[in-house]
Symmetry: C2
Subunit: 244 residues, 2 copies
Amino acid sequence: MLKSTAPPSGCVPRTIGPLYGGDVSGPSDRSRVSRLPDATIARLPLYLRSLAQLQADRTVVVSSEDLADSAGVNASQVRKDLSFLGPVGTRGLGYDVDSLRSKIEVELGLTEELGVVIIGYGNLGRALAGYRGFGARGFRVVALVDDDPAVRAVAPDPLPIHPLSELGRLAQEYALAIALVATPASAAQDVADAVVAAGIRSILNFAPATLNVPADVTVRKVDLAVELQILSYFRQRRPGATVG
Amino acid sequence: MLKSTAPPSGCVPRTIGPLYGGDVSGPSDRSRVSRLPDATIARLPLYLRSLAQLQADRTVVVSSEDLADSAGVNASQVRKDLSFLGPVGTRGLGYDVDSLRSKIEVELGLTEELGVVIIGYGNLGRALAGYRGFGARGFRVVALVDDDPAVRAVAPDPLPIHPLSELGRLAQEYALAIALVATPASAAQDVADAVVAAGIRSILNFAPATLNVPADVTVRKVDLAVELQILSYFRQRRPGATVG
DNA sequence: GCATGTGAATAGATTCACAGCG
DNA sequence: CGCTGTGAATCTATTCACATGC
């Protein structure tokens, strides 16, 4: 799939799938058994979310149809996705909520808590740091980085804010697994380089910039403006746009 | 594609494509000429971003290969995508940066400024309100909504914060085009119902919940935990996870 | 000559429809 | 009987390879 010629510079990671919305640039060498289809991987977290809700409601068993409704997808999609995890349901009955949840968590590698560093402590970085949903789902923000001394001086958070130069040390000390890049676009590539140099190989990029990273680094991106522009397209093509 | 039987309740909008990352639930009736493939629609904003950069650098013409590098996709993908806009390049030369940018903007409906309302003025809502990137790309936050009187009392923003009950009026007054839902999951469906009732038909949902909306409403979602869990999957399947 | 634009080929994802099994 | 699990069919997207035209 990937031509064996070396990529030009910086090594643009292969965008694994396509598709409208975030995309994955994953460990690009598919020779390794990458068991699940990419589309399935992206949906497992949705099922997990629904299962957690069901669990909270004391529901013991769920059918593919109910799970599908709850996750906003098609029932045969649910069955196909879950079938990749092995035989995980009971015919005639449905899926056991608890055990399915565990199976998905194992599949996603959510068995240990993963350390997260937030790089860029502006508006968005602060909001991310304050986000309550991390702990509940197996992630913990353990370090903050910003290269602007003025930003570091404010330090309104329980966690100290470090300069980028300390990222390598932080990565070792806290076993950082994931970096959230919340810097301006202009700084994003330098930050990504530092992240890679620090040995962190999972990046969630909020900066509106394309990151060039080695092939063994996974990047997912979240770009607000891109999302809005996609919405704009559908808006424009609507029958009668009345209000907006 | 959509079975003609009426959906159960609330009408789950069809998730138009799949794919790992945000997905679209768009105006589901494809009978109308929805010219571009969904995957293309999702990439046009990326090209736009690259083109803006090139324009800033005073680059006049760009080849599909350079544009592809800059956007992080494949060159033939770029050519295929752009070919849907009509003949937009010059053989032997490349694409004119200015005119290509305009063409894409027109295609995405970015010719008029679109009014955005942020619903839920917690951590994330405030960060979104403070985000500088809106204006630069044709969107403007013109209203804020939060149903918690305590939150409204703080009002640290130039814009006043309204109760949800005023959304209908705000939608009319400001011709709101897009709603950003940044509430807790528990409130998200009620908010979505109010958004729909107010006549707004584009939603960007940050709440970790599936929204049920009528078929003519487009929803895109951004879920931080989902992104992290996807990263976790790839992390787990890596050869030798050293640091993290 | 060179890079676009495009039909054809391939790969991947979704949906269907039903066999299999509790 | 009911619901899972799955092969087959379909649909969509990506990539290739080359004809086309500046």
